[in-house]
Structure formats: structure tokens, C-alpha cells
């Protein structure tokens, strides 16, 4: 599904990804761990094709197409999707305007059903997107949008951060649904979410590159017990 070869990325003259390779086969979900500032979000931005994240070296192959130079919307057309960690506020553009990109009619029952499922009231439809949304609401609004987009390959950037225990189940189930029979890459710092996802592999990103790839449970257990410090030790 996704193949990254020897990728180096710069943003604002700062190298954020260096010599990174990654392979996610079809219908597999991988996890991505890594300390703050290690480059996880940057990797997702490069995969989706944000213009400010410049690919200096390497290639990104998606569904056998070299997408390294394709604009973001072309990659989306091929089947990529992202739940962003920190999506921007766009004044005057309402959540419903964005939902309309993927759904013809908002009045059809489906939209309200999905909103209920995500624990978002109908009022959110008329709110400027992400404006004044709480941390947890942002996560659920991102997932709601993906529910309509239905990407074949979805990247989730910390979908569980700042989410309370009750909403964790909502978020977890949504992830499970979005990834069922499809592929994905999930960035997380926490374990709660893991039980909703059938991840086949986990990677640890430290200092701009993937330093370790292994069984998700084993890696998570290791990080929980010893932090990333141990990973660094193991690498040296």
C-alpha cells in the first residue's frame, strides 16, 4: 500500500526526517511511536504532501504510484486520508462545509447518526471548523470527517491525546471502523487505543528516523516500562 524509500524531509531549512524507510502492506495497520519532536507529524505531513515539508531525497510510493511530487488532493484521490494532530481554524468555513466535500446531502439521516456516534451535537455543523473546539472535540471532528471520506489508507496523528476515558471508547471504535479491512498508520503515546486496533507492526521514530520496528505489544510494553531512553540505549 505504502512504500517509503530513504526519505529525507526539510521544513523551514530544518531537517525533520532523514533517511527513513517504511513499508505498510495492504490491509495492515502500523503504529508509530516516538518522543516529542522526533518527527512523527513531519512524516505524516510529508506523506500527505504538505508543500512546506520539502522532500530532499527519497521516494513515496502509494499503491504503486510514485506520489512524491503529486499535490495533496491527488494523493487523497488515490485513497489517502489524515486525522490531524493540530488542524487549523478556518473562520467562516463551517464543519458542514467541509463534510459536504464528501457527502452530497447533509439532511439525509446518515450525518446525524454519525455525529451522534462521535458524540458531537448538531450545533457543531454550523460552527467554524476547529474554532473554539476543545482538544477532544477536535479529535472527534477529524474522525467524523474521515467517516465520510472513507480513505483506503488513513494516518491518525495522536487521535487519543487529550481524550477522556469515556470518549476514548468513541475514538477507539471509530478508528477500528475506519481501519477495518483497510490500511493505516497510527501515532500514539498511549495504550488505551491499542485494543481497538489490529496493528501488525510498530515502529519507533527517534531523532528523524525509524530506529526500531517490531511487534506492537512488545514495543509498547518496553516504552511503558523504560521510556524512550531504553530505546536509545538499545540502539547505541
Amino acid at each position: 500500500m505504502l512504500l517509503i524509500e530513504d526519505l529525507t524531509v526539510e521544513v523551514g531549512n530544518k531537517r525533520v526526517i532523514e533517511g527513513l524507510s517504511l513499508h505498510i502492506p495492504e490491509k495492515e495497520t502500523h503504529l508509530l511511536f516516538g518522543p516529542n519532536g522526533s518527527g512523527k507529524t513531519s512524516l505524516i505531513m510529508a506523506i500527505i504532501g504538505a508543500p512546506s515539508y520539502k522532500v530532499i531525497k527519497g521516494r513515496i510510493i502509494f499503491k504503486d504510484v510514485d506520489v512524491t511530487d503529486l499535490p495533496t488532493n491527488e494523493r487523497v484521490k488515490l485513497g489517502m486520508g489524515v486525522a490531524f494532530q493540530m488542524p487549523p481554524v478556518i473562520r467562516g468555513v463551517r464543519l458542514k462545509d467541509v463534510l459536504r466535500i464528501h457527502t452530497e446531502s447533509l439532511s439525509k439521516g446518515g450525518v446525524m447518526d454519525q455525529m451522534n456516534k462521535m458524540g458531537l451535537s448538531a450545533q457543531f455543523l454550523d460552527r467554524d471548523i476547529n474554532y473554539g473546539f476543545s482538544g477532544g472535540e477536535i479529535k472527534r471532528s477529524e474522525l467524523l470527517q474521515l467517516m465520510f471520506q472513507k480513505p483506503e489508507f488513513t494516518m491518525f496523528d495522536e487521535p487519543d491525546s487529550g481524550v477522556d476515558i469515556e470518549n476514548m471508547e468513541v475514538v477507539g471504535k471509530a478508528l477500528g471502523e475506519l481501519l477495518e479491512g483497510r490500511s493505516g498508520l497510527v501515532i500514539t503515546h498511549m495504550g488505551y487505543i491499542l485494543k481497538y486496533i489490529k496493528a501488525t507492526k510498530a515502529h519507533v521514530l527517534i531523532d528523524r528516523s525509524i530506529r526500531c520496528s517490531s511487534d506492537p505489544q512488545a514495543i509498547f510494553k518496553q516504552i511503558m516500562e523504560c521510556g524512550y531512553g531504553r530505546c536509545v540505549e538499545c540502539l547505541s
Binding site: 512546506s52 488532493n73 478556518i90 467562516g92 468555513v93 466535500i101 464528501h102
Partner: protein
């Protein structure tokens, strides 16, 4: 010669403080001998095109009355509701002696050469009044149309909402497609009496070679509310206006919403000024300016608070859609008493890359994303208007935008 005429003569060649200077000798008075018609539906078809996109509805559905002036001729002035008056200004002056007290009371006749010409070479205008306690169910519509090239249209409008009345007006201004070079000068004086309300929605749809110089002022008495909505979405050669609202009455309110979409090489200088001198008076000035191509927009705003306890907020947002366009925001606050609460926010810039990126990640192309963001930017929450009028404004913005993007 009357005192007024003398002062006007004195200002015949007085340059305006703002806006590029215009040589008025280039223009002659537009024809004043077109035949009047009984109602707007009888206005010759050839003008109907120009009525589109300026909120003027020939069918008069959801309208309380109509006024149509083409060049210097008043074609019709009608009302459908008891207690609402719509007249040509000349007829009104002949009918009411007292009207003299309202002419040139808020705008000085010797402000500049434009006000001077409106007195010396008047080509019409309207008188609209809601009698005491009368509330207009639907808005009245007024249309100013320039159909002849190289002409001036100098109008003087008087709008009065008597005590406890409510008046909603949509004024549309347009020109024939063939117009190369003409000028519109419009003096408008608004009187909002005690506990009355006026909402005035002005939609401009001029031609690329037309100069426009409105000169407006409003007096708002105790408990009165004045809401001004200004929409200009089409090119113009130069347009300069800076209306002033005087909130003299206790708890009086003035609201200004301006939406400008400047294209080509339009030179647009618009602002709103509010003087809060009535106890508890308040104001809100909101503007959304978009500059495209090589247009230039100056967005002014000025709030003065001269007694304690008054409140004002000024919000000015500008969006640049091209390298060659420019937006100059000049917000001014003047607190001349204790306990005055005045604030302003101004933000001018290009469409944020992050926002485009986000929408592209939802599948939109870069152009589609920009269009959606621009649409959102213009989606100003206009408060205090009847629903159908608000929808009408939204529709106007949408249709004119669709034709430009």
C-alpha cells in the same frame, strides 16, 4: 443667492481630503426627461439586467415599495404599505416645507467639490420616511442607475424613521454595461428618531470606469438603532466614502458591516466613522475586504467615545488574493472620556497556507480550497436583520462571487 448656495459655490473646486481627485468638468448631467412609469414592473426591460445582483426585484415580491432613478430622471416611486413614504427628493421638497431642516444638516454642503455639486447641480435622489410607529414589513428597494456615458448623477437622499418606526431599505446602484466613464455623487442623510430603527443595505455594482463619491451621515436619537450593510463586489475606477454616524441619543446603536471584493485595478477607499456621544451608546464596525488583481483597498474605521460608559468595537479583516493587490487598514480609536470601552482587531494577509493544505487533505484542489476559504471569509454574521433580508444579502454575495471566481 441663498446662504447655502453661496457656501456650495465656495466649495465648487475644493478637493476632497481622501481619494484621487476627479475633474468634474469632464461630465455633463445625465438626461432628466425620461417618462415616469406607474410601477417598477413598467420600467423598460433594457434596464432589468442592471437590476440583477443589486437586490432590486422587479416583481416586488417581499418588498414594501420601490424607487427607481435612471440618470437624472425619477422613473417611479411607490409604496405598498400605509405609513411608508417614498418620493423623489424634488417632489418631497415641494410637498414638505419642514424638509429644509433636514437637508445639509448632517453633511456640510461645503465639505468638498462633490457635496458642492450635489447642491448646485442636483440630479435627483429620494425621500424615504416611516411615519411614527410604522414598521416596514418588507424592505423598500431603491435603485440608482447610470445609463448614459460621460455623465454625472448627483443625488441627495433623505431617510427618516420617525419615533418608534422601523425602516428597512435596500439600495442598489448600477450602470449599463457600455458605460465607459461616469460619476455618481450621493449625499445621504439619515435620521433615526427615538426608539426607531433603520437598516440600510447598499449594494454597488458599478463599471470599471465609474467614479463614486458617496457622502453620508446619520443621526441616531435615544434608543435608536442604525444598521448599515455595504456590499461592493464588482470593479469600479475609484470609490471613496467615509460615512459618519452620530450616536447622540441615550442607548443609541450604530452597526456597520462592509464587504468589499475589489478586482482589476479598482481603487477603493471605504470606512465608517462613529461618534458615541450619547450615554450608553454603542457601535460595532465590521469589515471584510478582499483585494485581487492589481486593486487597492483602504479600509478605514474610526470610533470616538466622548462620554463615559460607551462601547465600541472595530473589526477589520483583509485578504490579499494577488501579489499586486494591496490592502491598507487604518483603524482609529479615540477615547475622550473615562470608562470608555473601545477595541479593535485588524488582520490583513494572504490566505493561510495551512488552511489551504488542510482542505486539500480533504480532497479539494488548491483553487477550490481558496474559494471555500474566501467564501467563509465573506460569511459575516450580520446581526439584527430580518431573516429574508439576511438571506437576500447572502444570495447577492454568493452570485456576484460566483461570477468573479
Amino acid at each position: 443667492m441663498s446662504e447655502l448656495k453661496k457656501r456650495a459655490e465656495g466649495a465648487r473646486d475644493k478637493n476632497a481630503v481622501l481619494g484621487p481627485d476627479i475633474d468634474l468638468e469632464e461630465y455633463t448631467k445625465g438626461p432628466s426627461d425620461y417618462a415616469p412609469v406607474p410601477s417598477i414592473s413598467d420600467v423598460p426591460e433594457s434596464y432589468h439586467d442592471g437590476f440583477l445582483n443589486i437586490g432590486v426585484d422587479v416583481s416586488e415580491k417581499d418588498r414594501s415599495g420601490s424607487f427607481v432613478q435612471v440618470d437624472s430622471s425619477v422613473l417611479c416611486s411607490t409604496t405598498a404599505q400605509e405609513g411608508l413614504e417614498v418620493l423623489g427628493i424634488t417632489d418631497a421638497i415641494n410637498k414638505y416645507d419642514w424638509l429644509e431642516d433636514y437637508l445639509w444638516r448632517l453633511v456640510s454642503v461645503d465639505t468638498d467639490k462633490y457635496t458642492s455639486r450635489a447642491e448646485l447641480e442636483l440630479s435627483g435622489g429620494y425621500f424615504i420616511r416611516a411615519k411614527k410607529g410604522v414598521k416596514s414589513v418588507y424592505p423598500l428597494q431603491a435603485c440608482m442607475y447610470i445609463g448614459e456615458d460621460h455623465t454625472f448623477q448627483n443625488v441627495h437622499n433623505i431617510i427618516i424613521a420617525e419615533e418608534g418606526s422601523e425602516l428597512h431599505i435596500i439600495t442598489g446602484c448600477a450602470t449599463g454595461k457600455h458605460i465607459q466613464n461616469s460619476i455618481h455623487i450621493g449625499v445621504s442623510e439619515f435620521y433615526v428618531k427615538k426608539n426607531a430603527e433603520i437598516s440600510f443595505t447598499m449594494i454597488h455594482n458599478w463599471a470599471p470606469e465609474v467614479n463614486v463619491r458617496p457622502r453620508s451621515a446619520m443621526l441616531i436619537e435615544g434608543g435608536g438603532v442604525f444598521i448599515n450593510n455595504y456590499i461592493c463586489m464588482s470593479p469600479v475606477k475609484s470609490l471613496q466614502t467615509y460615512p459618519t454616524a452620530y450616536c447622540e441619543g441615550k442607548n443609541s446603536t450604530a452597526v456597520f458591516n462592509s464587504i468589499v471584493y475589489a478586482t482589476d485595478d479598482s481603487n477603493i477607499d471605504v470606512g465608517s466613522k462613529v461618534v458615541l456621544s450619547g450615554e450608553g451608546s454603542k457601535t460595532e464596525i465590521i469589515s471584510r475586504m478582499i483585494a485581487k488583481d492589481s486593486s487597492s483597498v483602504t479600509a478605514r474605521g474610526h470610533i470616538s467615545g466622548t462620554v463615559s460608559g460607551v462601547k465600541g468595537h472595530l473589526e477589520c479583516n483583509g485578504l490579499l488574493l494577488s501579489q499586486n493587490a494591496r490592502i491598507h487598514a487604518i483603524p482609529e480609536l479615540n477615547a475622550a472620556a473615562e470608562d470608555v470601552e473601545l477595541s479593535h482587531e485588524a488582520a490583513v494577509g494572504k490566505v493561510a497556507e495551512k488552511e489551504i493544505q488542510y482542505l486539500m487533505a480533504r480532497g479539494l484542489s488548491s483553487d477550490e480550497a481558496t474559494a471555500l476559504i474566501v467564501r467563509g471569509f465573506l460569511n459575516v454574521e450580520i446581526k439584527g436583520l430580518p431573516d429574508h433580508l439576511r438571506r437576500e444579502i447572502q444570495r447577492t454575495i454568493k452570485t456576484s462571487q460566483d461570477s468573479f471566481m
